[in-house]
């Protein structure tokens, strides 16, 4: 009770501070050349109240205070403590409170960390950020109050959705939100810098750090979500092109492009329009993602309880921000600088620009695939679903030039460069093609496209690998990230091409056998845990190479709420994953068994970690 009370009024106080900050920033903007100390302390106070409110919600979950509606709907006394805490953000209200926490945290850090930038710029950034913050305060208090009372107090809660009871997922939302919501500071800052016309090289190197932070967290957040989907959803895949996954991929694509543009801007002060539009796009796409997920327009594992009022609020708020940014962009930004925009064709900036266009292409494919079904439904009431083939067919062919540009681009110099003494560039290409050919020799499906695809990925792999030994520490972060990307594409390709799958229905005691695999369904056990009962199936699987393994996939029946889930059993080794999952077949004594051997699974995770390590190194590097 007391926690809900304190939490709720902390939110109100935070909102009041937000409103008062509009006034202070207006006053400070007109009258002073120094940042008013009141602004910093009030921003801190706002953060403080949001933290208090957040802690109150966590405590309500920990002590299972069911007079709080959010706790009642999403927790249960039998939950382990870890999942009680993670339940705090495993629901609509709590996750929005987390949004707010990140929003206020970032603006506070921004104010105290930003030096050497005009005071007016800082104040204006605060102003724009406060628009977002106040919007979310209103949204939270009006439509999704995490501290609503229920009376009479229920004795027991509804429980947390079992598929959310997973360690990877417990930390997935906070990490992802740091990335998502972190992009708000880029948005505010770019609007303020555009209005004040101070977009310059020094601004670029200042904002680059913030872009990197968002980018690192977004990358890791997506990775965690993907790992969770692989282990928990039991489909044996790591990316399903589910609308909600796409919604997190779109800001990532925009942010990655932005990161490359900001590098050009930092060095050459080109591409200012790109930077502005991409900064706006990144945050708008994050918001749009929130809208799509929370309004219930999309149906997916991430959709929480739906309420059209919430959807409407975010929609209006989102479009206010969009129109505000369009206005600022066209009103304040005039791009007809005197500088000539003609790049020499063979230069670093050209190659970055080319890959930017590719990224924009990938982004539009994902965007269209995600929202087109909604549009079609409204316009013609037809229901379609866009699946992996759409994305694969449209994206994969364009990866080839994209990978090649990634390999060659960093070799080029700014402004103008020549390809001298670059015999190794060509010889590496030949080696890659030969290698790819050898690997795929016995593979007859889509031979040509796969060979070309693998050669270009191998090419990037070799070029970046070579650079680790040649260019010592010159641009290690970029090299690691690009190396990681080549590894990612290679792992995904090999994973797709060389996985094998057996789907069959078996009874206890039966054996399945084909030329490569022998699956013996030995026995079934039962297990009781605090929050679920499980049926454990024991399998003995041997393959033609003489490898033998025992697997025990589970079917879990969670008690609060009663939901059955399939828990895959996965044996991970360096080179491949063996994955088995069972399902109950309705009204039959058969189990549906799905056994997969997936090569290079581990490398997909490792390469994404490598990509973010590239970002982390770049973030830690001191500019000379």
């Amino acid at each position: 009770m007391i926690y809900s009370f304190v939490g709720y009024y902390s939110l109100i106080l935070g909102l009041v501070i937000g409103l008062s900050l509009f006034y202070f920033s207006y006053q400070n903007f007109n009258n002073s050349n120094k940042l008013d100390i009141k602004i910093i302390s009030f921003t801190f106070l706002q953060l403080f109240f949001v933290v208090i409110s957040f802690l109150c919600l966590i405590f309500s979950f920990v002590v299972s205070d069911f007079s709080n509606e959010t706790v009642f709907n999403n927790s249960h006394t039998t939950k382990p403590l870890f999942y009680k805490i993670s339940g705090t953000w495993g629901n609509h209200e709590g996750s929005l409170l987390l949004w707010l926490l990140v929003l206020t945290l970032f603006i506070f850090l921004f104010l105290i960390k930003t030096k050497n930038q005009p005071v007016k710029y800082k104040i204006l950034t605060l102003f724009f950020q406060q628009i977002i913050i106040v919007g979310f305060f209103l949204f939270l208090i009006k439509t999704s109050n995490p501290f609503s009372y229920i009376f009479p107090t229920p004795t027991e809660g509804q429980g947390l959705n079992p598929i959310l009871q997973d360690p990877a997922l417990a930390i997935h939302p906070p990490i992802l939100y740091l990335g998502y919501v972190g992009s708000s500071i880029i948005f505010s800052s770019v609007l303020s810098a555009t209005s004040l016309k101070i977009i310059s090289m020094s601004w670029a190197s200042h904002i680059k750090k913030w872009i990197l932070i968002s980018w690192i967290f977004l990358t890791l957040g997506i990775l965690l979500g993907s790992i969770w989907a692989y282990y928990e959803l039991g489909w044996g895949g790591f990316w399903f092109w589910d609308p909600v996954e796409n919604v997190s991929l779109m800001p990532w694509l925009a942010l990655t492009t932005l990161l490359h543009c900001i590098l050009v801007l930092e060095k050459k002060s080109y591409l200012t329009s790109w930077v502005i539009i991409l900064s706006i796009a990144t945050f708008t796409l994050s918001m749009c993602g929130t809208f799509l997920v929370r309004s219930g327009i999309l149906n997916s594992v991430h959709t929480f309880a739906n309420d059209p009022e919430r959807g409407l609020f975010i929609l209006i708020f989102l479009f206010i921000l969009i129109f505000l940014s369009i206005f600022i962009f066209f009103f304040f930004h005039n791009d007809d600088d005197k500088k000539s925009y003609s790049f020499f064709w063979l230069s670093k900036e050209t190659s970055i620009l080319i890959n930017n266009w590719f990224m924009m292409y990938f982004l539009s494919v994902v965007l269209i695939g995600t929202v087109y079904p909604i549009f079609l439904d409204v316009i013609s009431s037809q229901k379609i679903s866009v699946g992996p083939p759409f994305y694969h067919k449209l994206i994969i062919p364009f990866l080839i030039p994209f990978l090649l540009m990634m390999a060659i681009g960093p070799k080029l110099k700014w402004i103008k460069s020549k390809l001298e003494d670059k015999i190794y560039l060509i010889s590496f290409l030949i080696i890659s093609i030969i290698l790819a050919f050898l690997v795929l020799k016995n593979f007859n499906q889509n031979f040509l496209i796969n060979t070309i695809l693998i050669s270009s990925a191998l090419y990037l792999f070799f070029i970046t690998l070579r650079d680790f030994f040649v260019k010592k520490y010159k641009n290690i972060s970029q090299n690691i990230a690009h190396f990681g990307f080549s590894l990612l594409i290679l792992s995904i390709l090999f994973n797709n091409l060389f996985s094998s799958e057996v789907i069959t229905n078996l009874k206890v005691g039966e054996t399945f056998e084909n030329s490569k695999t022998k699956i013996i369904f030995e026995s079934v056990d039962q297990k009781k845990e605090q929050n679920y009962n499980a049926i454990i199936a024991n399998f003995f699987i041997s393959n033609s190479n003489g490898e033998e393994d025992r697997f025990s996939p589970e079917l879990r029946i969670y008690n609060q709420p009663v939901i059955a889930t399939s828990e895959a059993d996965i044996k991970t080794t360096l080179m491949s994953d063996k994955f088995i999952v069972i399902n109950l077949v309705q009204n039959q004594d058969f189990f549906n068994v799905r056994y997969q051997v997936k090569p290079f699974m581990l490398w997909i995770w490792l390469s994404v970690i490598l990509i973010s390590v590239g970002g982390i190194i770049s973030f830690l590097q001191k500019r000379l």
Partner: protein
């Protein structure tokens, strides 16, 4: 301002997007799959098993006739078990049996039929398993009883005497 067209067109585009999102908020998108509900059979394009010729689903299933669609594969052990039931069912000539050859090697598929007999009036191939997804199949074997282009009943796992009796009862 010299160029007013661009900002205005962008604003109009976003206005339209807003409107569409707004409209789609109005109707609920909650979709619950229901296994037992009668539903129309999906439409698909495929290839004929023996000749490799392209064929459409509409040419396979006609209205007013009863079909049993059986998903099978030569590598699937339970398919072997149920095959004799399918052969017997075919003798009675009450139901037209259609085969969907699932993720199979064509050669071993043909050997399978040579060895055990061919109860199917027509067989089409689903080499990537995508058509089976449209049908809502979990795996092989699985059978669908179809009448008037509607799925009447779905059998997961191999058919046995009990399910054959039920089919005979249903098609009377």
């Amino acid at each position: 301002m010299k160029n007013k067209v661009l900002p205005f067109s962008i604003i109009i585009i976003f206005g339209i997007i807003f409107f569409i999102f707004y409209k789609s908020l109005k109707d609920s998108k909650i979709y619950t799959p229901d296994v037992n509900k009668r539903k129309d059979i999906p439409k698909f394009n495929t290839k004929e098993f023996f000749s490799g010729e392209n064929m459409e689903s509409s040419s396979i299933f006609e209205l007013d006739k009863i079909y049993l669609l059986n998903i099978w594969s030569s590598w699937c052990v339970p398919c072997r078990q149920e095959h004799s039931f399918l052969m017997n069912l075919n003798k009675d000539n009450k139901v037209i049996i259609i085969g969907m050859n699932y993720k199979d090697n064509l050669k071993s598929g043909k050997n399978f039929l040579k060895e055990l007999g061919n109860p199917y009036k027509e067989i089409f191939i689903d080499s990537e398993g995508t058509i089976a997804i449209d049908w809502g199949a979990y795996g092989v074997p699985e059978s669908f009883l179809i009448y008037n282009n509607e799925i009447i009943k779905k059998y997961i796992g191999p058919l046995n005497q009990q399910s054959i009796d039920e089919i005979n009862l249903l098609i009377k």
